[in-house]
Symmetry: C2
Subunit: 258 residues, 2 copies
C-alpha cells in the first residue's frame, strides 16, 4: 500500500460527525442507506492503531465529562479556545455571553463551528496568531489539548506564544491525561522506548486517518503532572492548581508570572 | 511505516469486546483506568479506512437487526453457523435447543464462543471441514457473511464445500448487503474500477486491523441479488427466496437441487 494522501482529516471527520448527529449535510451511509458511525483512526509510530467515535467532538454539554464543566466555570474575561474543533466548548461559552475566540488549524472544523453559530473564529496555529494585537485572559486547552505542548522542544515555544497573547494575570486551563497508570505491555514498552530516545514516556508520535486521508505525523503529549511542572520551568507560566477528580484525566491551571 | 505483523485480529477484537461488555478478562483502558470502546479497523485496497464498533459481535438478541431474528426462525435441523465469531447467533440457537455447530477460522473468537457456553465448535475453513462425516440441514451466513463467497473464483468452491456437508433438502440462509444504492463518489469509483478488472463492483479487497496486528488481504463480497443469482449458476444451489425488508441488507435462502 502507498502512503495515504495528506488532507484535512479532522475537518472531514468533524463534518461527518456533525452531519450524522444533526442530519445537516451528506452523511456516510452503508449501502447508500444506513448511517454509519464516524470513527477517528489514530495510528501510533509503533504500529498501534486505534479507533475512537468522533461523535464526542459534537457532544452537547449534558454528555460531557464532568471536568469539562469544571473547566468552563474557571474561565474569565476574554477566552481563546485552542483547538476548538467544531466549537463544542466555545459555543457553550458564547451561550453564556462570554467573549470567546475559537482557534483551530483545521479549516473544515472551523467551517462547522461557524455553521453551528460560533462568531469569532481563527484558522491558524497559535504561533502565527500570536502576531495579532488581540489579548486574552484565559487560554482553554480541553479535549486532551494539553497534548499540544508536544514535548521539551515545542512546549517553550507554544507557551511563549500564549504569553505573547496574554493580558496580565492570564491563565491557561488545560486538560491532560496521565498515561502511566497502565500495565498494558504495549503501552509500557512504548513509554520505555520513548524515554530511551530522550522523549517523555507518553510523548506519542501519531497520525490521524479518516476515509482516504491522513495527517502528517505529529507529537502529542500525555504527561504526568510532574512532567508538566518540568516543562513549565523557565517559561512565563507557573502551575497554580491541579484538579485530579477524574483521574487519569486532570485539569491544570497555569498562571502568568507577574 | 513497516507493514503491521499478521495476527488473529478478529480473535483479539472479539476478546476485548467481550471483556468490555462482560467485565471478564482484561479490558483496553485509557490511562490504565477508563474503558475504551473496541473498534474494528477495516482497510480497503484503494486506501479507504473505516472503523466499526466491535460491540456488535457480542450483542444480545434484543439489540440485533430484525433480519437476524427472521433468519433464525428459518433454521431447521442441524445448523452450521459459518463465521460464528463469538457465538452471537449460535448461542441463541443452542438456547432454543437446536443442534448447532459454530465454525470460524479465528481461534480467539472460538475461545470466546466456548467461554460463553457454545458447546460444538470447529476452528477451520469450510473446505477443510467438508472432509468431516457430519451433515447439516441449514448453513447460516449472518453478519454480512454472504461476503465469504468472495467472487467468481471462490464462490463455486465455497458452495461445493457446503454441498458436501449438506443433507438432502439443505438450505443456506445468508445475509448480504446490496452496495449499489450509494452515490458516494469514493464508492462509485471503486465499484467502477473493480468492474474494469473483471471483478464484481462490490468485491471488496480488505484487511482488518486491531491494535498491533493485521490480517492478510482478502476478498469480501457485497453483491446485488442479481449478482448472487449469477454466482449460483452451475452450482448445486438455487435461490429459493429473498427477504429485502431491511434494504440494503437482505436475507437470501438457497436450496440444494434435488
Amino acid at each position: 500500500m502507498e502512503q495515504p494522501p495528506i488532507g484535512d482529516v479532522f475537518g472531514e471527520l468533524v463534518r461527518d460527525a456533525y452531519a450524522v448527529r444533526s442530519g445537516i449535510g451528506p452523511r456516510p451511509l452503508a449501502g447508500g442507506r444506513v448511517p454509519r458511525p464516524v470513527i477517528e483512526i489514530i495510528e501510533r509510530d509503533d504500529g498501534l492503531i486505534n479507533g475512537a467515535p468522533a461523535d464526542q467532538y459534537v457532544a452537547e454539554p449534558d454528555e460531557w465529562q464532568p471536568h469539562d464543566h469544571r473547566a468552563l466555570r474557571m474561565c474569565r474575561g476574554a477566552v481563546l479556545d485552542i483547538g476548538c474543533g467544531a466549537g463544542r466548548t466555545a459555543l457553550e461559552l458564547q451561550r453564556r455571553s462570554m467573549a470567546v475566540t475559537g482557534l483551530d488549524i483545521s479549516p473544515g472544523a472551523i467551517e462547522i463551528a461557524r455553521k453551528r453559530g460560533l462568531r469569532d473564529t481563527v484558522i491558524a496555529p497559535v504561533d502565527q496568531y500570536a502576531r495579532t494585537t488581540t489579548r486574552y485572559d484565559t487560554f482553554l486547552l480541553l479535549g486532551n489539548n494539553l497534548g499540544l505542548l508536544e514535548g521539551r522542544d515545542r512546549a517553550p515555544v507554544f507557551l511563549a506564544a500564549l504569553a505573547a497573547l496574554a493580558r496580565p494575570g492570564a491563565r491557561i486551563i488545560a486538560q491532560g491525561t496521565d498515561p502511566y497508570g497502565t500495565t498494558d505491555p504495549v503501552h509500557v514498552g512504548y513509554h520505555e522506548r520513548n524515554r530511551e530516545r530522550g522523549r517523555f514516556g507518553g510523548q506519542l508520535r501519531l497520525r490521524l486517518r479518516y476515509r482516504l486521508h491522513a495527517t502528517t505525523w505529529f507529537d502529542y503529549l500525555f504527561c504526568s503532572v510532574e512532567e508538566l511542572e518540568e516543562l513549565l520551568q523557565g517559561t512565563p507560566w507557573r502551575l497554580k492548581s491541579i484538579d485530579r477528580q477524574d483521574h487519569p484525566y486532570y485539569l491544570a491551571v497555569m498562571e502568568l508570572h507577574t
